[in-house]
């Protein structure tokens, strides 16, 4: 467990070494990530929520009706108001795009009656004169009119201006068949505003509403629209006060709206002209009301949406105009206008402005099913899907590359570490080899010098007839020769150890220790010493012959360094430690100083030149123990205190001859 945790810690350290390098770099990169989190979050928020997109108003695609014409045909379109009156502009857009799409030969001509600025009846006469001047000579097949004033004008002046033309209208509030009493060849689309449904929706979304303010401008159109409300107002779901707003100047209207309590509700019916005659556009009106009011503002026309009204069931001028243009195309195609009935229902859509919904705390799930919400934050990802996907892909690919490079670097580091380890091993081996050849040659040369030197002496003495020293000189030569033989044997043994190691097996350490003592022919005991072997030594898994050699050498070594004064006492035993059993051979001999603890295991290193042996024994022992992945060391309290040689033989159950 502990080693696993240790390994994991090491792996983590290696990982951070690869990715952060140093502790400072790790701290810096952590700070960087924390600092980066703030802008990253704001970018995320920006991407997901911030962008509001206004959907195009009245975006219903007009049907692409086609008309086959042989000659260029002009068609007069008369608008009641002026360019800049957004609802009228939208109607005109719907008409023009439908007509133009039907045939390239169809040429719409546009005139504006401009009644918001010129409401007087005399103006109609002047306008009629202009129309007479411009179009009197042409036989116009169809005249289209948008909104009530233009229809009034057309019906009043048609006999004089365009008696042959069929009249197609749209945008007519408060349409009743009486409008067309006594008229032939007239058809069109009534502007049926969804007052009742819009009020029902508004009251459902603002349940605390106590008062409804109806806003119309008291022009012909305004009055007609207001008139349309009477019937729906009787069918309200609950009791609320309904107030009509009198004609007011801009300043008065703003004052009134500002004073309204939050539990009121404003419904814009039709409002283009203030009490003092100032004309205002739909967009400007919606903005003015919304900015001044604490109460929600609802409307009936799409042209108000996006500029401050909450919503409602809205009529789009564009699709309204397009529908009327389609009627005109049918007449141009040959269908008699009289056979086309007046269309009394117009398509409307339930729409809301998300900004206003948020302002009044209306949740999207409260809205009627199928509602269209404009100004809704459209997630960046919805609008730039491929950009986001490709960016994410690129980031993923780069991240993968970084991870791959990191892993690669890890592998390289590991390989490098292995190489370094092997280099170190190789260097150690090289140094060992160098030392070996050096010392071997030195130690082999030494006895040779002795042999040759004393042989020379012998020759000289023999010639001179001196015999006194001869015997001792011959003994010196013999001693040197013996020493060479032992040295060669030991060297051979040592070189074999490095290469030959038997198969490991389980065996009792006690038994092997007794075997080793047997092989020493009882030298220790015969010379009056004693040797004790612990009976309970554990079983080890190793090369039995080599371990016996280890014990043999250690016991021999212990015996060699007994003190002349004390009875030799040698103990072979063991003690349990965290790393496993530690075996020892302990003596009561000369002991040694700590500075020699490492030196004695070196090849040919002897502490006392007079001591017997070649200095190879302990080097041999060390090599055998290390080949078993064990450790060997010596403990001694100093000179005269005896020495304890300790070693371990870990049960690795792994192939021998490998250093960890």
């Amino acid at each position: 467990m502990a080693s696993m945790r240790h390994e994991r810690g090491a792996a983590l350290k290696r990982f951070s070494a690869v990715f952060f390098g140093t502790r400072t770099a790790a701290v810096v990169s952590t700070l960087f990530v924390v600092a980066a989190a703030v802008p990253i979050y704001s970018v995320y928020h920006e991407i997901m929520y911030s962008e509001r997109v206004v959907l195009p108003l009245g975006d219903k695609t007009p049907p692409r009706a086609r008309l086959a014409l042989d000659v260029p045909t002009e068609i007069l379109v008369i608008g009641s108001y002026h360019v800049g009156h957004e609802f009228g502009d939208a109607e005109m857009l719907g008409i023009l795009e439908t007509l133009k799409a039907a045939s390239p030969l169809l040429q719409p001509r546009i005139e504006y009656l401009d009644t918001k600025y010129y409401p007087e009846k005399e103006h109609y006469d002047r306008f009629a004169a202009l129309i007479e001047r411009k179009y009197g000579s042409k036989r116009l097949p169809v005249v289209m009119v948008t909104d009530d004033p233009a229809l009034d004008f057309a019906l009043t002046y048609r006999a004089a201006l365009f008696p042959a033309a069929a009249i197609v209208f749209c945008g007519i509030n408060d349409y009743t068949p009486q409008h067309l009493a006594g008229q032939q060849n007239v058809t069109g689309i009534a502007e049926a505003l969804a007052v009742g449904e819009t009020l029902a929706i508004a009251l459902a979304l603002h349940p605390l509403t106590k008062t409804i303010y109806l806003l119309d401008d008291h022009t012909a159109t305004g009055i007609a629209t207001r008139h349309n409300c009477e019937e729906p107002l009787t069918h309200l779901a609950r009791q609320v006060d309904v107030h009509d707003v009198d004609p007011l100047t801009r300043r008065e209207l703003v004052g009134l709206v500002r004073a309204l309590p939050a539990d009121s509700l404003i419904l814009v019916l039709s409002y283009s002209v203030f009490g003092d005659g100032e004309v205002i556009s739909h967009h400007a009106l919606a903005r003015l009301l919304s900015d001044s009011s604490r109460a929600p503002v609802y409307g009936l026309h799409e042209e108000l949406l996006g500029y401050g009204i909450v919503g409602g069931r809205l009529l789009a001028g564009r699709s309204h105009g397009a529908a009327a243009a389609e009627l005109a195309l049918r007449i141009l195609a040959g269908e008699p206008a009289a056979s086309i009935p007046v269309v009394k229902t117009t398509p409307t859509r339930v729409m809301f402005d998300d900004t206003e919904l948020e302002r009044f705390g209306v949740r999207l799930d409260e809205l009627p099913a199928g509602s269209i919400v404009v100004n809704r934050p459209v997630p960046f990802i919805e609008r730039h899907f491929y950009l986001v996907v490709s960016t994410v892909l690129v980031i993923l690919i780069l991240t993968t590359a970084i991870v791959a490079l990191g892993l690669n670097m890890g592998l390289r580091l590991r390989a490098q570490r292995i190489i370094e380890q092997q280099m170190a091993t190789l260097e150690t081996k090289n140094a060992e080899l160098e030392r070996f050849t050096y010392t071997a040659s030195h130690d082999l040369k030494s006895p040779l010098i002795t042999i040759k030197g004393f042989l020379g002496m012998l020759v000289g003495d023999a010639k001179a007839g001196r015999f006194a020293r001869m015997e001792s000189d011959i003994a010196r030569i013999e001693g040197a020769a013996d020493k060479m033989q032992i040295l060669l044997d030991d060297l051979l043994e040592l070189s074999r150890i490095g290469r030959v190691i038997g198969l490991p097996a389980d065996f009792s350490m006690t038994a092997v220790a007794e075997e080793a003592i047997e092989l020493l022919h009882g030298t220790v005991q015969t010379e009056g010493g004693e040797i004790v072997v612990a009976a309970d030594m554990p079983t080890v898994y190793a090369d039995q012959r080599r371990v016996r050699e280890v014990l043999q050498n250690l016991i021999e070594n212990a015996h060699k360094f007994t003190r002349p004064t004390a009875t030799p006492h040698i103990e072979v035993g063991w003690r349990a430690e965290a790393e496993g059993p530690v075996f020892f051979v302990k003596d009561n001999g000369l002991g040694l100083e700590p500075r020699f603890f490492d030196k004695i295991f070196g090849l040919f290193d002897k502490l006392d030149p007079a001591s017997p042996g070649t200095g190879i024994g302990l080097a041999l022992v060390k090599r055998i123990v290390e080949l078993h992945n064990g450790r060997i060391w010596v403990e001694s309290e100093g000179l005269g205190k005896g020495a304890t040689f300790c070693f371990t033989l870990p049960d690795t159950r792994r192939p021998m001859g490998r250093k960890s």
Partner: protein
Amino acid sequence: MTGEALRILLVEDNEDHAELVKRNFAEHHVANTIYHVRDGEQALQYLFRQGKFASAADSPKPNLILLDLRLPKVDGIEVLKQVKSSPELKAIPVVVLTSSTSDKDAIKAYSSYANSYLVKPVDFAKFTLLMKDLGYYWLAWNKNPTASRV
């Protein structure tokens, strides 16, 4: 030979080699006195008058040191360094006498201010010749600083 009694400190762990050196010097009447120590530690104790050589009578200052390199306990190079860094001892000529032919050893010895580096010849005749020449060169021809009185 000058009239002065010359002293050689022989540092040699091999008894046989020490005996060969002593006999050769004796045959060529090279030195009056040879002091033989058997390892580096003893050599230092002798030169710095410590341990069993604490008494000045037992350890007169030598005129020449013959130093083996491979020595038990403290090796020859260490002895050489200590001698050459001691103000009182560094004037004593130190002749390295070893069986090592290694360049490394020679460089180490000279870098530590050895005065000469000699390799023990295996051949007896050469060994004898070297001992003779060594004696004449260092003790007769060479002007040694006068050892201070002890």
